[in-house]
């Protein structure tokens, strides 16, 4: 005696392991006719019976969504298997049973191999196989295919089912109205000549299966039946409703079958994540809480980074500068090299590097927030505000990335599907306070607002976000009109941040900062130093130098903003190469003005608190750095948008800096 057994199951249910365990080396591989799906067959002798085992492609359902699904259902319906072994992953019973319900709908003779029961046990999932078998009306045999456990019982059950007339399995109900229509349609379809059971055809027609609908529509005998045509039109008119009800009924059935029969480890009805989210994502309190968290982050950054570590780093830079200078003097190095090293590199690059401790602390704290899962909540609480100003909630994710560096921030806008949303997100991203802008704020905060460091830094970040929102609103009403895409954010569960991940995240940002200091900033400082000491015969770092002349030419532009000095102007000009270069340039030009004087002290003499704020606003918002402009050109596919970004952001920054200075002067802050 010989029979055919079909193996069917979800991908990763252990179906192929079971196939190999059953057939051993006695198998061969080919292709299913007309498709590129692999066909595996093997043989196994069980008692006196020779079993031909066909391993069907893994599938989550038996619809017409993929070749794998089509091949599997076609073989079950027309390949005349004597029995179908449905392999179910015991760790994921609920998901796997969806396919089982479709096998039952087909009227197949089914035996369930409840596979990987050992893994389910390890995960404390308890399954009552008898209850499952009773509710499904088919045998359920626990197996561990990888250890060949339960195979004997499985084959016994398969042979018993194959020789029995039919399973006594339960029938699904899809609701009274659908059941009635299904019965009528099944009756009408019996008049046709099909390779498939008419009940299954009727179900698939109602479910909107295009493949089956075509077969039925092409059958001549059906076209002559007025009753059929009337029913056909009625079904077509409510296709979506029937499809949803049928699929929903299957899930309801799975829920009923597994209720009490599958028990998972107790999970609190309300998880810690839910409790936290109720507070942190609150409709009204969400944004104030986010603002408060960020405020604490900036306060801690100053308290730890400046008070504990800042002095140490400044002393280290000073010590390295003195050491290099004495070393160069000892080896009788030319004066220009001593000057380049002391007043150029150490004053310039050193001025940037001095702020590394604050950068370290800031990104460490930001890494903690991100790794805990809070940043996704931050994006969510901003969602309503974003939508109100015509931006998509997900834009805030790219803005958060922009806090690190605007280049990946602009690239992160790729996750926005709509071109309109993406263009706006690209154009507003440079308003975010990237890591390179932080040293600029820190120099001016140290000079004028040391007691309010955290608050001042917080204000700069907040201003960047507010300006981004305003510009986003303007763009969505002018250049990029259209509806806001309505997306719903999925919030991952909170988790305890891991030290390794947080440190790695911090290092990624800090190393990028240090790399730029050692490459771009070094190159910019070297170039500016040459411009600051040429032409020969003029006072180095003076207004007659090439650098001074460039500064003097630009300076009138910034006079209405209160900082129309040539030093401040060249600082801003160099910042277009890289934002850190603003501090590096100021460090160099002011070190040259008054030998040995610290940058902060020099700034305190040249700026006032009001012009300091005006200058900080300018550096926050003005023309993005060259790398960001290059990325904007690449991501928008147009140099025009990069130019637009450079010009409009300069205009916005200048206008706001002027407003700050002029209004401040009127109020008596000058």
């Amino acid at each position: 005696m010989s029979i055919t057994i079909a193996l069917v199951g979800n991908p990763n249910s252990g179906k192929t392991t079971l196939f190999n365990a059953l057939t051993g080396s006695n198998q061969h591989v080919g292709n299913w006719p007309g498709v590129t799906v692999e066909r595996k067959e093997g043989q196994v002798r069980h008692g006196n019976t020779v079993c031909r085992v066909v391993d069907l492609p893994g599938a989550y359902s038996l619809g017409a969504f993929s070749e794998d699904e089509m091949v599997a259902r076609e073989f079950i319906l027309t390949g005349n298997p004597d029995v179908v072994i449905n392999v179910i992953d015991a760790t994921n019973v609920e998901r796997n049973l969806y396919l089982t319900t479709q096998l039952l709908e087909m009227g197949a003779k089914v035996v369930i191999a409840l596979n990987m029961v050992d893994e389910a046990k390890e995960r404390e999932i308890s399954i009552d196989e008898k209850a499952l078998a009773r509710r499904l009306g088919v045998p359920v045999i626990p197996t561990v295919a990888s250890r060949r456990n339960g195979l004997e019982q499985l084959m016994n059950a398969a042979l018993a089912v194959a020789s029995a007339p039919r399973n006594g399995h339960v029938r699904l109900s899809y609701g009274e109205s659908i059941d009635d229509k299904l019965a009528k349609l099944t009756n009408l379809l019996k008049a046709g000549r099909w390779d498939y059971p008419s009940g299954w055809l009727a179900l698939k027609v109602m479910e909107g299966d295009e493949y089956v609908r075509k077969i039925v529509a092409d059958e001549q005998s059906m076209q002559r039946s007025k009753e059929f045509l009337r029913l056909w039109d009625e079904i077509a008119a409510n296709e979506d409703y029937y499809q949803l009800e049928i699929v929903d009924s299957r899930y309801r059935f799975v829920g009923e079958v597994t209720q009490d029969a599958v028990r998972r480890p107790a999970v609190a009805v309300e998880t810690a994540t839910d409790k936290l989210d109720r507070i942190l994502t609150h409709k009204y309190w969400g944004i104030p809480i986010f603002a408060a968290i960020m405020f604490v982050v900036f306060q801690l950054t100053f308290a730890i980074g400046q008070d504990f570590l800042g002095e140490w780093m400044a002393s280290a830079v000073e010590y390295i500068g003195e050491f290099l200078e004495s070393l160069l003097l000892t080896v009788n190095a030319p004066q220009w090299l001593v000057d380049f090293t002391g007043n150029g590199i150490i004053a310039g690059v050193g001025a940037v590097v001095e702020f590394v401790p604050l950068i370290v602390i800031l990104y460490l704290l930001m890494g903690l927030l991100e790794d805990s899962g809070y940043m996704a909540r931050a994006a969510y609480v901003m969602d309503n505000t974003m939508r109100a100003v015509g931006l998509q909630g997900k834009t805030f994710i790219s803005m958060i990335v922009g806090f690190g560096c605007n280049v990946p921030g602009v690239m992160a806008t790729r996750t926005l599907e709509s071109k309109k949303d993406r263009m706006i997100a690209i154009l507003i991203n440079p308003f975010m306070s990237c890591g390179a802008k932080i040293p600029i704020y820190l120099v001016f905060i140290a000079a004028f607002f040391p007691a309010y460091g955290g608050a001042a830094l917080f204000a700069m970040y907040a201003l960047g976000i507010i300006v981004a929102f305003i510009m986003g609103k303007i763009f969505s009403k002018t250049l990029f009109k259209g509806e806001v895409s309505h997306f719903i954010m999925e919030l991952p569960p909170y988790r305890m941040p891991t030290l390794g991940t947080v440190l790695r995240s911090m290092w990624d940002n800090v190393s990028g900062f240090l790399t730029r200091a050692g490459t771009t900033i070094f190159a910019v400082v070297s170039l500016l130093w040459v411009l600051a000491v040429l032409p020969g015969g003029v006072e180095p770092y003076g207004p007659e130098s090439i650098l001074g002349q460039i500064g003097l030419a630009i300076a009138p532009i910034f006079k209405p903003a209160g900082f129309g000095t040539w030093q401040a102007s060249v600082g801003l000009f160099s910042g277009i190469a890289a934002k850190e270069a603003v501090v590096a340039t100021l460090g160099m030009v002011y070190a040259g003005v008054e030998e040995g004087m610290e940058l902060v002290m020099s700034i305190r003499e040249v700026f006032t608190p009001l012009t300091a704020v005006s200058f900080m606003v300018m550096t926050l918002l003005y023309t993005p750095c060259a790398a960001t402009l290059g990325t904007i050109r690449k991501e928008t596919g147009s140099g025009k948008w990069a130019l637009f970004s450079a010009l409009y952001s300069f205009g916005v920054a200048w206008a706001l800096a002027v407003v700050v200075f002029q209004v401040g002067s009127l109020l008596g802050f000058a």
Binding site: R95, R414, E490, L491
Partner: protein, 91 residues
């Protein structure tokens, strides 16, 4: 379950699958399946993004500076919104 799931997603304003499972009294795996079914039938759509799909994060030169926890976004499609409106009409 699917209609209730869609309505719950719409009401919550954000997606937390464990919270939805608790609200609907279903195992989490079944809720995840529900999402897949709603996507398959066109009631819900995943935000595929514009270009990151073709560029695995590991190969992106800026991956280390990007968002470490990618945020999954969902969209209730027009078909889904019609269904919700019908459900509301039907009470």
């Amino acid at each position: 379950m699917l209609k209730q799931l869609l309505a719950a997603i719409n009401d919550a304003g954000y997606v937390s699958k464990p919270a939805l499972a608790a609200e609907l009294g279903r195992p989490l795996v079944l809720v995840e399946e529900g999402f897949a079914a709603l996507v398959r039938m066109g009631y819900l759509a995943e935000d595929a993004g514009a270009g990151c799909v073709d560029l695995p994060c590991g190969k992106c030169p800026y991956a280390s500076m990007c968002q470490k926890e990618p945020v999954q976004m969902w969209k209730i499609t027009d078909k889904g919104r019609d269904l919700l409106a019908n459900m509301q009409r039907a009470g």
